[in-house]
Amino acid sequence: MKARFGIVVFPGTNCEMDTYHVLTRVLGQDAAYVWHQDRAPDPYDCLILPGGFSYGDYLRTGAIARFAPVMERVAEHAARGGLVLGICNGFQILCEAGLLPGAFQRNRSLRFVCGWTHVRVERADTPFTAACAPGQVLRIPVSHGEGNYYVDPETLARLEARGQVLFRYATPDGEITPESNPNGSVANIAGITNEQGNVLGIMPHPERAAEAVLGSEDGRLVFLSVIRYLSEGRAVRV
């Protein structure tokens, strides 16, 4: 059975078509766009908040989007154990909404970074990484001005202890070094889940690295993990 993905679109979102393309044309799944004003979207197995510049990133990235009507549904879906995946700006929105811990600052360089990064998979026993090998290094691009992830030291210790860090910026060999960190994120964090493990925020763009012609197929593994998890009947529909 195909999995059904809802791709949430805010004014200023710009990665929704790439995400739709990968899910439907590349991976053969069902997907539909969900408008930010939609309070009652159709049932979806997984809601995706794609990248972009929702509401122009005014005030702070994700600060306005998190009050959009659709976010109530996203929170309900997450509370019931449904899968939610925030990519880049989607990650920022989930943090602002309190569905994920932490916040984002300007990149340490103060430059917009756009290019390939390597991320190490810290756990392969989650809905978002089950198709990966533990410690596998994925080549996925980033594209952001405010990707500098911050949590206070106590929260960071809790995240680490509970295994909520799923992806870390690394060298191609999987070493965690300051040089492989493109934005200054604490502990080289590139992706985290909530405590329950059903909400993921990831800064690099897996949807931009899902076809060989684009230079990498590694991003597919994130979506394939979700599809596998859902096909095992662990779906919770909105």
Partner: protein, 103 residues
């Protein structure tokens, strides 16, 4: 009564400020010595109607907590003062920020 509020949003103590650090090194490059630390924040001005100054402050504090500052990274202070009454918009012209009672 009409009030003007100023919300000053600053980074929490201990949070690194990449913008401030860059401004500081720019100052040093221009030959200005002695600036030990520079931190960049935001000033948000709001005009509102409220029954009292205290009520206006409460209301601004509430939006500060909900929207204007992110408690993970930032803190904020609120200053409220009475503001002159809004001028009526000029007929036939759309009210610009200056006329609808802005600055």
């Amino acid at each position: 009564m009409r009030y003007k509020a100023e919300v000053r949003v600053t980074l929490k103590h201990g949070v690194l400020d990449p913008q401030g650090a860059t401004v500081r090194s720019a100052l040093a490059a221009l030959g200005y010595e002695g600036f030990e630390e520079v931190r960049v924040g935001k000033l948000i001005e709001l005009w509102l109607e409220a029954p009292s100054e205290e009520a206006a402050r409460e209301r601004v504090r509430e939006v500060g907590e909900r929207l204007l500052a992110n408690p993970v990274l930032e803190t904020f202070t609120v200053q409220v003062a009475p503001a002159p009454a809004a001028r009526a918009p000029v007929p036939g012209r759309p009210a610009g920020p200056g006329e609808a009672g802005g600055p």
